[in-house]
């Protein structure tokens, strides 16, 4: 078998990440914005004028700003964290399979799972509050932003899942602290914030269809810093798994 990905690891990771309880959690993540949109649609007195600011705010703050990092955190850290915790990782490690391929495959599946949650979370609210001022470019722009965000977030969280046993807690601190709080207080931190990268890509792809008035990071910063974070995280993850050892419980 050649190529950077292994289909069996892909199948196994997919089954792991969408195991019963996580499937319900993912469905809740995907449907929460739809419920909010439905409430808005049936309670708003000025649907025509309020739809655009409502949907922009919903998708930027709740979907891309909050659900995206949390979904990526759950899928990214669980890609390895679950198997490390219960000891089933050994079944992959004692197979004739390069460890870097295991990392790349699990990373790709974690990203795909995050997007599988993000796509309905972005598209369905748009369909619910649909009006002529919300063209298809509006949804496409948020999907592009979410894709860039998922690609970088998942790399960071997969690496975190391999380097620490407290990946979920540290990831939450990272998301809430750096991404949500500090990036708003200190403008320099925006150039390190994946959330801000996603917003910048959304504004760029939206090309006027998405109204984001406040300053966003430059696209050159997005590509440079995004690439650095992505490559660094993947390399750290590969190095961690290559050096991973099964310790006897002493």
């Amino acid at each position: 078998m050649t190529g950077p990905f292994d289909s069996t690891v892909m199948w196994l990771t997919w089954r792991q990440l969408f195991a019963k309880r996580r499937l319900y959690l993912s469905a809740a993540f995907a449907l929460a914005p739809v419920v909010i949109s439905l409430v808005f649609r049936f309670s708003s007195n000025d649907l025509a004028n309020a739809s655009v600011p409502f949907l922009t705010s919903l998708l930027r703050e709740i979907v891309v700003g909050t659900l995206l990092p949390i979904a990526a955190l759950v899928f990214g850290t669980t890609a390895f964290g679950g198997e490390i915790d219960d000891g089933t990782l050994v079944y992959l490690l004692v197979k004739p399979l390069a460890r870097w391929r295991v990392v790349l495959t699990k990373y790709v599946v974690a990203t795909a799972c995050t997007l599988a949650v993000m796509i309905p979370a972005i598209v369905l609210p748009w369909l619910v509050v649909r009006n002529p001022d919300l063209p298809w470019q509006f949804t496409l722009a948020f999907l592009a932003g979410a894709t860039v965000g998922a690609v970088v977030y998942c790399a960071i969280f997969v690496a975190l899942g391999l380097t620490t046993r407290r990946a979920l807690v540290i990831g939450l601190i990272y998301v809430i602290g750096l991404e949500i709080v500090w990036s708003r207080l200190i403008s320099g931190i925006k150039s390190l914030s994946v959330r801000e990268f996603a917003v910048a890509v959304t504004k760029q792809v939206g090309n006027g269809a998405v109204q984001i008035s406040d300053a966003v990071v430059k696209m050159s910063t997005v590509w440079t810093m995004g690439s650095i974070l992505l490559v660094a995280a993947i390399l750290i993850a590969i190095r961690s798994l290559s050096r991973y050892e099964i310790a006897e419980r002493l």
């Binding site: 078998m1 289909s7 195991a19 019963k20 004692v94 197979k95 004739p96 399979l97 099964i246 006897e248």
Partner: protein, 322 residues
């Protein structure tokens, strides 16, 4: 191979690898921070069944994990087919490990788990190999149930099926009989014997001597991370059973029984304590045969006979101290 006892203070000299040795440990040590898990172990293992025996925490799993390439030795070297295992995934085409932890992907069915192993081994006939491996451990009836619903013994068997799906030349099994009922245990032992007869190298760790009875040809006894003894199973067994045994005996008249027992040639020490008679013997079998007759002759009623040093730790410690 005759039994060799290793003194605590002596460092076993690395043996010259046997011509057919597939696994060689040369002065292999492994430590975690300040804790030494395995200390200066040397051995060479060829085809057949080798038992790694020792109490919990003796370093058996660490040795197996080093052989499997899941742990690098902190000092010394571990070679499989002449090369180090760590960092060489291709070695798993000929080597398989059944880990001690019973965790298996609970959301997969038994068949899916074994099939996953077959696919990861890039076998030509994945389904055929899976069916053969499942049949080998007699798990056909439960193969379509999720592993999460399996008993401990069933999990052990499906783990073994997963490890054997590609028919490896070297099979490392860490406490494989845990949780199996006697019938399953016998069936697995038959499988192991058959594989050994085909020329496979099988290493089985256990903390129970009887598990390796009639199964392992050679035994490595590990105590506190050291190789305490190695050799033929019967030799090791003889060393273990011929050691002095201590019993505590309570009777209707301890003083009278103690005096009578002193005449028994198998007894070499008797002590009267408030808890009863503490008796030392070099021949446990002879003592248990003579004791009822001695008590009857002395007109004493036996109330309790309790071995006081039968813990595995004391048995293995005896081997180290010899």
């Amino acid at each position: 191979m005759t039994a060799t006892l290793m003194k605590e203070e002596s460092s076993p000299v690395a043996p010259a690898p046997e011509p057919a040795a597939r696994i060689v440990l040369r002065n292999a040590s492994r430590w975690y921070g300040n804790v030494v898990a395995v200390n200066d172990v040397s051995c060479a293992l060829g085809p057949g069944i080798t038992g790694v025996l020792g109490p919990n925490g003796a370093g058996k799993s660490t040795v197996l994990n080093m052989m499997a390439g899941l742990l690098s030795p902190s000092a010394g070297e571990v070679l499989v087919n002449g090369a180090p295992t760590a960092g060489r995934p291709e070695v798993y085409k000929t080597l398989a490990l059944v880990p001690e932890r019973e965790a298996v992907h609970s959301f997969l069915t038994g068949f899916e788990f074994v099939r996953m192993s077959a696919r990861l081994q890039n076998l030509a006939d994945v389904d055929g190999a899976t069916k053969r491996a499942v049949a080998l451990v007699e798990m056909e009836a439960a193969q379509n149930r999720p592993v999460g619903t399996y008993s401990k013994g069933m999990r052990q068997r499906i783990k073994i099926a997963g490890a054997m799906v590609h028919q490896p030349d070297i099979l490392l099994l860490d406490e494989p009989f845990n949780g199996m009922d006697p019938r399953q245990r016998l069936q697995m032992m038959d499988v192991m014997r058959r594989l050994a007869a085909e020329g496979k190298t099988i290493v089985i760790s256990s903390h129970i001597l009887e598990e390796l009875n009639d199964l392992a040809t050679n035994v490595l006894v590990m105590v506190s991370g050291r190789l305490a003894a190695s050799g033929h199973f019967r030799e090791i067994r003889r060393l273990m059973t011929d050691r002095p045994h201590t019993f505590t005996i309570r009777s209707s008249n301890d003083r009278l029984l103690a005096a009578a027992l002193l005449a028994d040639p198998s007894v070499f020490g008797v002590e009267l304590t408030p808890a009863g008679i503490v008796l030392r013997t070099a021949d446990r079998g002879a003592l248990t045969r003579h004791l009822p007759g001695t008590a009857r002759t002395a007109n004493v009623r036996l109330l309790e006979i309790r071995p006081t040093d039968e813990s595995l730790e004391s048995v293995f410690s005896y081997l180290v101290e010899r």
